[in-house]
């Protein structure tokens, strides 16, 4: 067959070229991810020693930052998960009308508030309370204020993921349970929720991962601390905040510490993300 550079050949070459370009796009996107993980591992590994992980920031370690992050996501989860899931239940089960539509709209609006604005809100709110004399002004720099900020981010997020999870359950499941005479609230609690448990858990875990990495609201509420957690009304340290502080320091030791802390943070966040996907894989029915 003679080779002719006609329209068909051009089209075929173009097709191959575009496929290559698409593949290249994937490569370009993976490049920064690979670079971040590589740099964090190599530069951070040098900083991670047993004392780094057990000493507080006042002595050069990040133990109190790790504790702070765990405290913050634990408390935020404690507040936001029930509230978010109940809101999701409202939206999915009782909210299929115009009022529910309005609620859904406003919850969506809340998910889009930039996190720095949430930080501003938490600070201003507690400061107003302090000026009014209801609480001490010092409370603006405390665990409570930080939890207020993080919950404001997590609640609408969990509400929407919970609603999506509940919607995955088909109406026939609900109808079948009702037909058996089970009261409605038991249908929700005992039939619907367990059916979409993996999606609910995933939504919750993703919400936790989201707030665990937040820095902007913490700059103006948590204040950071060289010491371990000392109380709900005291400042608290957190990994993202510590990474930020170390990153802008000129000292090379601090910069290495920043990479070490960010490695721990990234491992935690990736771990949660992978865990949530594993929950889906392990618990979905294969057919």
């Amino acid at each position: 067959m003679t080779f002719r550079f006609d329209r068909d050949t051009r089209r075929r070459w173009f097709d191959v070229a575009m496929s290559a370009a698409a593949l290249a796009c994937v490569g370009i996107a993976i490049l920064p991810l690979g670079s971040i993980l590589f740099e964090a591992s190599v530069r951070g590994a040098a900083a991670i020693t047993p004392s780094f992980l057990t000493l507080p920031a006042g002595s050069g370690g990040i133990a109190n930052s790790i504790q702070g992050t765990l405290v913050l996501i634990g408390l935020t989860g404690l507040v936001a998960l029930p509230v978010g899931i109940l809101t999701g239940i409202y939206l999915a089960e009782f909210g299929r009308n115009r009022i529910g539509g309005a609620v859904r709209f406003f919850v969506d609006v809340m998910t889009q508030i930039p996190s720095i604005v949430v930080g501003i809100f938490a600070y201003s709110f507690v400061l107003e309370l302090g000026v009014a004399g209801i609480v001490s002004r010092r409370l603006v720099f405390s665990t409570i204020t930080a939890v207020i900020a993080l919950s404001t981010i997590m609640i609408p997020f969990v509400a929407r993921t919970s609603e999506e999870a509940l919607r995955l359950v088909t109406t026939s499941t609900r109808e079948a349970a009702l037909a058996l005479g089970i009261p409605r609230y038991k249908v929700i609690l005992r039939v619907v929720l367990p059916s979409c448990a993996s999606a609910l858990v995933t939504g919750g875990l993703l919400g936790i991962a989201r707030v665990g990495g937040e820095t902007a609201p913490l700059i103006m509420t948590a204040f950071a601390s060289p010491d371990f957690f000392t109380g709900l009304d005291q400042p608290i340290d957190a990994l993202p905040l510590r990474v930020f502080r170390f990153a802008i320091s000129p000292s090379l030791a601090d910069n290495r510490a920043a990479w070490g802390a960010s490695l721990i943070l990234v491992v935690m966040m990736l771990g949660i993300s992978i865990a949530s996907r594993a929950v889906i894989r392990l618990r979905s029915v294969k057919r």
Partner: protein, 335 residues
Amino acid sequence: MGKRYIAEDGSPIEPPMHPFRTSRGGAQRRLVATSGDLIFQSLSTIVAFSVLGLLALIAGILFVAAEESVQTFGFGFLGGTVWDPVSQVFGAAPFIYGMLVTSALALVLGVPISLGIAIFLSELAPGWLRTPLTYVVELLAAVPSVVYGLWGIFVLAPVMRVYIEPSVQAILGFLPLFRGNPIGSDVFTAGVILAVMIIPTISSVSREALLAVPDTQREAALSLGATRWETTRFAVLRYARAGIFGAVVLGLGRAVGETMAVTMTIGNRNAIFTSLFDPGQTISSLIANNWLEAGSLELSALIELGLVLMLVSLLINAFARLMVGRVLHVGEGAE
């Protein structure tokens, strides 16, 4: 509100009749059989409405706090180019400008790559590669913003300063946009990092839009002799236009609200810049920088700026919602 009773694989589903209603339209008698039902329904309703109350609280606190600035500067605030705590004159223009330029740059760089990824993962990738690659791209969204900033300061900025920016300047230096002394912590670097951060958002929503295109479209094009790329271009992309556009707008919404990575790489200069290689400032990076030290009028001005940011973000997301309809993700990523 029209509902689309089509499943993701294209087959029609019957419109659901909510099991807790005994009739459609007309009188709506609800099934409240036991006191348990009443308690549960009231509880979840109260919680949902108190979440709304939280939103009202946010709006209330912010509007009240911004009052002082609104009354002092009026509408001129948006056009003011000076941010000077010494003379107590504050204007939003450099930061709105910075936000728009960095986001636009992020879109220019990020959208083609995201589309390429979406097309590759939905059309071209072999089945065994699809899932792992999807997860890898999703991992980009799992990295916290502050880590992007750290990487930006120590890895990207030097590379930009030494290799990339001089090369760009060599080619495009005749444009005023690329003049000046490239130093690495500038608008260009911030734009590149933002582009990387919005790739997962745009690509995943685009992918959903592409997957929603029925196979019949692809089959029709292929049966007419189109190559794979031609199928994608003429049959699939055209069909998924609205969804992809919505994905892009969602990515824009994400870029606009981004704080930490931008603060750490943009150079922190409160002025309107002419070249992409100049340092700049966005609304969120200004707030992050100045919050703790702001006296009462500046604080009020910062809160007013925050409200502007929130409004811009809401408008962008509302627009995206119109485009994308039900193919939508909840807000992503951490700052």
